[in-house]
């Protein structure tokens, strides 16, 4: 079976937050919830300083710590290697958020719009998609449950790359099947020294980074 994963080239990443915004626009996430997040880290002291960007997303681990602890079976490891949350079964206990070592999960704790009580036209689309927009994911209106990146399942159905990959202007992101040894992602991991975050935890993430 396939194992969808991502490779992020940290040398190419310019830290523009493009993936963060593309994800928000694509998935209609409410304020405070960023499935794709760019972290910044400063190293050294002046004048020998360096600023690093680390784009984060759900690691879609092969051994997900979140899936193990989920009491209601809402979090599932899919056959294509992605980890998904069923918004209709999640009871909102947030145990998965406590267990996830990467902080990739978010709790949708209340009905929230970007600008006060009124939805913007764009948020309106997310909440209630008009004709022809059915392919877009609905911004799930129920609150009180956990959500996270699903590697743009709706885009993958149309054989498109996830929004963060398609929108990365530095072409720092690659999407593909890690189980296929001839895929671009497998080759990059193999040839350019791809590494996972916190491999010692045994979670075996499907998101690899290429060293700076």
């Amino acid at each position: 079976m396939a194992r969808y994963g991502m490779v992020i080239d940290l040398k190419r990443c310019i830290g523009c937050y493009g993936c963060q915004i593309a994800c928000k626009a694509e998935n209609f996430t409410p304020p405070g919830i960023t499935w794709a997040l760019v972290l910044k880290n400063e190293q050294g002291s002046f004048p020998a300083v360096r600023r690093l960007s680390l784009p984060m997303l759900c690691m879609h681990c092969a051994e997900p710590a979140c899936e193990k602890v989920c009491p209601s079976g809402a979090t599932v490891k899919e056959e294509d290697g992605t980890v998904t949350v069923d918004y209709e079964t999640c009871i909102g206990c947030r145990y998965c958020m406590v267990a996830c070592p990467y902080g990739s999960r978010y709790f949708n704790d209340r009905e929230l719009n970007y600008y006060g009580d009124q939805r913007t036209p764009y948020e309106e689309v997310g909440a209630d998609p008009p004709e022809g927009w059915e392919s877009k994911p609905r911004r799930a209106r129920c609150t009180g449950r956990v959500e996270k990146c699903d590697l743009c399942s709706h885009r993958r159905e149309q054989e498109l790359e996830p929004a963060c990959v398609a929108n990365c202007m530095a072409k720092a992101r690659y999407f593909g099947d890690l189980d296929d040894p001839y895929s671009e992602v497998s080759r990059l991991v193999r040839e350019k020294g791809g590494f996972q975050l916190n491999p010692e935890l045994g979670t075996d993430p499907s998101v690899y980074y290429l060293p700076v």
């Binding site: 602890v69 909102g92 206990c93 406590v98 267990a99 902080g103 709790f107 449950r145 935890l201």
Partner: protein, 442 residues
């Protein structure tokens, strides 16, 4: 044996049931107001979502889970202590057991309730039964706690039967309830034998269940890979802390009801002194586990572990941490280690500090770890909101309310067991001591 004869000297035990004073009414009224306030806060939370709490990434568990662990911990006071004292034939247990058992049953409801309050979608909680996955430690909790609740309810009820029969025979209002609940108890020798046997079986059964309960509560934390949680001693550490806080709460309850119901003749200095000694041992054990836990973390010196460690030892949670050590170890050792200060007042003071200290311990296990996630960027702090505090206070009020209402229906000291101690215990102990000695035959 009939029940008409001489309840004269134990008459006091039935007084709170048959007379309703202004003290009782005022207490219930105040507690009801607090509970109602908490309920309003909860409805607000259901309406607007968990956003009204201070919980946000990365701290996704806060006061509610702290209260859950604390209340489930207190529940160990009761049934476990009572079972151990019964099985070890400690004669001084007689006026204490019922008080302890009521704590367990009352507190388990509230503890389990906090998990439900913490849910983002309480309307979907049955999904745990419908689609539940048994590899989640939360389901182990659900199993263990419901088993414990069942067992300790039975264990509270069995020794209550003879007392319910007494109440039935005293012919008061709502007699039919007592007639049903007493299950036709007449106090015949055969009934007594069956009852004693049933109590003994439940006492044995309840101990492993009680131990399992807090072990499994600790597993919720220790099964994850988070720094400061992933520890093999968490099970016993939690059980020790549970018994520790449980005894402290038991002593507080005893002092309160001794005063309120004028039970000085039943709850004597010696009972507090004995429980105080037990508390002293648990305090030392707690310190031993705490020491072992933190030394192991410190010596290994993993960066993730250390950020949690320093947060507690000299960071933003240092005042809480050192207050906890003072409340749980330093003060109790000073007060309880000295025979002259191990008085009723002394044990009460130690118990109050321990109750506060153990609540803080639960908080300090949960929150600092969540505030220092493995990927070391901090993305927020945790300040509990008014809603969370209101619901916390309401939980404590509800516990007291359960307790006070219980004392309105049933005697808080087991009358028949005190009587049994008077009539049979003395002789039995005399015989038992004789059997230990070399000069007497078997």
């Amino acid at each position: 044996m009939s029940f008409e004869n001489k309840w004269g000297q134990d008459e006091r035990l039935f007084e709170p049931i048959e007379k309703t004073g202004w003290g009782f009414r005022a207490t219930v009224a105040i507690l009801l107001v607090l509970v109602a306030w908490g309920a309003t806060s909860y409805f607000r939370q259901v309406k607007y979502g968990l956003g009204v709490t201070g919980m946000a990434e990365p701290v996704s568990w806060g006061l509610y889970i702290t209260n859950f662990v604390f209340f489930i911990g207190i529940s160990h006071a009761g049934t476990l202590i009572s079972a151990i004292l019964r099985l070890s034939q400690a004669e001084w247990r007689r006026p204490i057991t019922r008080m302890a058992e009521v704590i367990t049953v009352a507190v388990l409801f509230i503890g389990a309730g906090y998990v439900l309050i913490d849910l983002g979608r309480p309307d979907r909680m049955l999904n745990v039964l419908l689609y539940g996955r048994y590899q989640s430690p939360l389901l182990w909790d659900a199993t263990s706690i419901s088993a414990y609740l069942t067992a300790s309810t039975i264990y509270l009820y069995l020794p209550l039967i003879p007392d319910i029969a007494i109440l039935r025979d005293r012919a008061r209002k709502w007699n039919f309830i007592f007639r049903i609940l007493s299950l036709g108890w007449q106090g015949t020798a055969k009934q007594q034998k069956v009852l004693n046997r049933a109590i003994a079986i439940m006492a044995v059964l309840v101990i492993p269940i009680a131990v399992s309960v807090h072990t499994v509560v600790s597993f919720v934390f220790s099964m994850t890979l988070q720094p400061g949680w992933h520890s093999t001693i968490f099970g016993p550490y939690f059980v020790v802390g549970a018994i520790f806080s449980g005894i402290a709460v038991l002593i507080i309850v005893m002092v309160v009801f001794r005063k309120a119901f004028r039970l000085e003749a039943y709850l004597k200095e010696i009972h507090f002194s004995n429980l105080g000694l037990l508390l002293l041992v648990m305090s030392l054990l707690w310190f031993y586990f705490t020491f072992a836990e933190y030394l192991t973390g410190f010596y290994g010196h993993e960066p993730e572990e250390m950020s949690v460690f320093w947060d507690k030892f000299r960071g933003q949670y240092a005042p809480h941490f050192w207050a906890m050590v003072t409340f749980n170890f330093v003060l109790p050792i000073i007060i309880l280690g000295n025979r002259r200060t191990r008085t009723i007042l002394g044990t009460l003071i130690a118990s109050i500090t321990i109750s506060i200290g153990m609540w803080m311990e639960r908080f300090l296990i949960i929150v600092p770890t969540l505030m220092n996630p493995r990927l070391e960027y901090s993305r927020g702090f945790y300040f509990p909101t008014l809603t969370e505090w209101s619901i916390t206070i309401a939980g404590f009020a509800l516990f007291l309310l359960f307790y006070v209402v219980f004392t309105k229906f049933f005697p808080i000291i087991s009358a028949w067991e005190v009587k049994e101690g008077r009539e049979e215990g003395l002789e039995e102990v005399d015989h038992r001591v004789r059997s230990y000695l070399p000069d007497y035959g078997n």
